[in-house]
Amino acid sequence: MSDQLVFWGLAGFITLSSVAVVTVRNPVTAAVALVINLFLLAGVYAFQGADFVAAIQIIVYTGAIVVLFLFVIMILNLDPEHLRSPRPRIWEHLVLGVVIAGFAYIGYRFLDSLDVGKVASNRLPDNTYDVAMILFSNYLWPFEIVSILILLAIVGSVAIAKKPK
């Protein structure tokens, strides 16, 4: 019973914060809402037993990527009024709400019809070791290509963001 409670609590706040990310007008508020969303999502992963992924999610996502968003907002140093997008017209909110609710309902009905059944016992044993073993044996080439991808991202972003001489 406590699992249901924990999950529905997390899911509620995650939905709230992801809607906040989209509808809020001040970008810093959106960034903080994104932080809360990612933090709770890491809670869902840890709740499912994927503990290494939860730690990575907090370190890389919450600790680095959203900090980069915050840095860009602080660097651009726009005055809040300019940054604040105009008050969205009401129909935008309505459309947003209707679209989300509609698709969520359709999706849920469709997924329910699959009756895929219960997720296995919601806690995998400590699997960091197995994840590492599989990553370095079966996924050897993607692991090397990831480093090339990171190299390209470094070169690309430094070239774009540097002040033109």
Binding site: G63, M133, S147, I154
Partner: protein, 116 residues
């Protein structure tokens, strides 16, 4: 007993402690707002709240932080399976790190990290 209870309780207590400390002064401290107190701290030449942009160096630091953070994370994964992967793992991670060191050298060469 759900193994997550300690984390949730400590997180809640930590945030509650932060909020109490943050909100305390509002109730306990005296409140005589004067225009002088409301202004932000200025010393030296009175400058208008100018909105000049900060240097882009901070942005480049943040980008390099993300990309090297991912490297640290993959090294942690490798450290977990170091002994059973033996030489194969070492060569694999060496290639991974060398490619990233190439990116690091590119950054050094272009002087993106030179703080004026």
């Amino acid at each position: 007993m759900n193994p997550y209870l300690p984390i949730i309780i400590i997180l809640g207590l930590g945030v509650a402690l932060g909020l109490i400390l943050s909100g305390f002064a509002h109730f306990l401290g005296p409140r005589h707002p004067t225009p002088a107190k409301e202004e932000i701290f200025e010393c030296g030449v009175p400058t208008v709240a100018s909105r000049e942009r900060m240097s882009v160096k901070f942005y480049l630091t943040a980008i390099l932080f993300i990309l090297f953070d991912i490297e640290t994370v993959f090294l942690f994964l490798w450290a977990k399976a170091f002994r059973s992967l033996a030489w194969f793992g070492i060569v694999e991670v060496a290639v991974f790190v060398l490619i990233l060191v190439a990116g690091y050298l590119y950054v050094l060469k272009t002087g993106a990290l030179e703080w004026d």
